[in-house]
């Protein structure tokens, strides 16, 4: 599995598939039991590889006593960022926390803390952003905001690996989707390319039904046959599989 520079990749899979483990291995939090992970040419987990990383954990939590501004200042110093107060205020503005700079973490809602975590991950303009369920605590507005931020990050040339259970979200913003199951890649590709024809939905005077194994090109012949059989055809709609269908096929109903 390779991530190209500037690519936004969605990582999907059932619980226990190894999504978080993969992200943690890239971060160096977990040692790989096999195989090899490199980040911009450096072995994952080394100091050189971590220089390029921004990471938002699934279990995001920050010291309750510190303010948003203090947390970002700490990460600026650890990341070697010289962005100063300007970078901090820009990041907080970007994640919708402009007025929360002096707010302590314990005074924030879960959603605010998650957006603060995203700002923390963006400190120092990382080349690779690893996000593990970055919208799990967010309302629809917050999710939209995160999508906008990710689009900005991608347009700035950074690579993003997005681990999420929200298929619609992944479908909306990802350039590529990778589906894993039990640690193996079982499907990958551009979301639209993964979609496959699923037949057509037909509405006639005798009712509605799905005719499988029929593509868009077969529709004129199908209509002609139905009319020849004496049916009045009101509508024929080609069906394509959604990302959800692709996902369910790929994981074969695995929910472990």
């Amino acid at each position: 599995m390779t991530l190209a520079p500037g690519e936004l990749v969605g990582l999907l899979g059932p619980n226990g598939a190894g999504k978080s483990t993969l992200v943690k291995t890239v971060c160096g939090l977990v040692r790989a039991s096999g195989g090899q992970v490199t980040v911009f040419g450096s072995r994952a987990g080394t100091s050189a590889s971590r220089r390029h990383l921004g990471y938002l954990a699934e279990t995001f939590r920050y010291p309750a006593w510190c303010t948003a501004d203090e947390l970002l200042a700490l990460h600026q110093r650890l990341a070697g960022s010289d962005g100063g107060a300007t970078e901090r205020s820009v990041l907080l503005e970007r994640v919708g926390l402009r007025d929360a700079a002096r707010l302590r973490v314990e005074e924030m809602s879960k959603g605010m803390q998650q957006r603060l975590g995203l700002a923390q991950a963006l400190v120092g303009r990382p080349r690779l952003l690893l996000l593990d369920e970055p919208t799990s605590a967010l309302d629809p507005v917050g999710r939209r905001l995160v999508r906008d931020v990710l689009a900005e990050v991608r347009s700035a040339g950074a690579t993003v690996l997005l681990n999420s259970h929200l298929l619609s979200e992944v479908e909306l913003i990802c350039d590529r989707v990778v589906i894993i199951r039990a640690g193996e890649v079982v499907a990958e590709g551009v979301p639209h390319d993964l979609a496959r024809p699923r037949g057509v939905h037909v509405e006639t005077d005798r009712g509605t039904r799905v005719v499988p194994d029929v593509t868009r090109d077969d529709v004129p012949a199908l209509v002609a046959r139905l009319v020849a059989d004496g049916e009045q055809v009101y509508a024929v709609t080609p069906l394509t599989s959604t990302l959800e269908d692709v996902y369910l096929d790929a994981v074969a109903g695995d929910t472990s």
């Binding site: 100091s47 990471y55 006593w65 975590g117």
Partner: protein, 290 residues
């Protein structure tokens, strides 16, 4: 030179962060209140002890004034060691596993900061806060002894410095324990270790009094395996380093573990002990998945 700066800068950054955290957490307020209560009671106790002598400096062959002062400082050193240990434990007991389970550690170690640097920073912060705390309370105790009985120990700095080193050694042990144990289990373990050391000291004192050399030797070995106890005993011994005769013998028996001079190798040994415990903690943490 740049490599050294690169390696030490994150340690100082994280240590500063941990010091700030320790000052803003409620545990510090609790320790401050306990300390204020202790110092108030200590002042009352010292006043009562010296007042009880009615100005008599000697009772028979015993220098009563010296005995009272050394005994009260011995009590003070015990309390400072205990309170300092409480502070050290609370600052470090969740350093690895506890913080990792809470998700607090991961965002830090994903930065270009090694796990060794994170642990070094946690120890440095705890040692700094605890040393400042010990210095403050020890100085307050000396001032109380001076004010209530016009008494001072034979060595002013040594006893406090040894207790500070003892607490720092305990902080290192607590960080090592935090690699494998949850915060609660580690807290229980570290206070059992502290209790074992102090208990060994008391056994050694009893063995010394009854002339049981085997037991005394065992207690001596334990006090070096857990050097905070040897440092505490040495600190007590330094308070009356220039005394002799029956007064010195009685003071050495001590109220809560007797004084015992450990010689010049104790401090370097304790420093080496802290370094070795630190290396052990780093090795154990480097093998741990977060």
């Amino acid at each position: 030179m740049n490599a050294v700066t690169d390696a030490t800068r994150p340690i100082l950054v994280l240590a500063g962060w941990a010091v700030r955290e320790s000052l803003r957490r409620r545990v510090f307020v609790i320790v401050a209140l306990l300390t204020a209560a202790f110092l108030a009671l200590y002042a009352v106790g010292c006043h009562a002890a010296f007042h009880h002598l009615h100005g008599e400096r000697r009772i028979g062959p015993v220098d009563a004034h010296e005995f009272a002062g050394a005994t009260m400082l011995g009590l003070g050193l015990f309390a400072i060691l205990f309170l300092g240990s409480v502070l050290a434990a609370f600052l470090t007991l969740s350093a690895v596993r506890g913080d990792a389970e809470n998700g607090l550690l991961q965002p830090l170690v994903v930065r270009p900061v090694g796990r060794a640097q994170v642990l070094a920073a946690r120890w440095l912060a705890a040692a700094t806060v605890c040393t400042a705390y010990v210095a403050l309370v020890y100085t307050a105790s000396l001032l109380i002894l001076r004010a209530t009985g016009d008494w001072a120990p034979d060595r002013l700095v040594g006893p406090g410095a040894r207790v500070a080193l003892a607490v720092s050694a305990l902080a290192a042990l607590c960080i090592l324990g935090s690699v494998a144990l949850t915060a609660t289990a580690n807290g229980i373990a570290i206070f059992m270790v502290l209790g074992s050391g102090l208990f060994a000291g008391l056994l050694g004192q009893i063995a010394h009094a009854i002339g049981n050399h085997g037991l005394e030797r065992a207690a001596h070995i334990v006090s070096w395996v857990l050097p905070f106890e040897a440092l505490y005993q040495d600190a007590l011994a330094l308070t009356t380093a220039d005394q002799g005769g029956l007064t010195h013998f009685l003071v050495e028996l001590g109220p809560l573990g007797g004084g015992s001079p450990a010689g010049r190798w104790l401090v370097p040994y304790a420093v080496g002990y802290v370094v070795l415990v630190g290396i052990g903690a780093v090795l154990a943490t480097s093998r741990r998945d977060l």
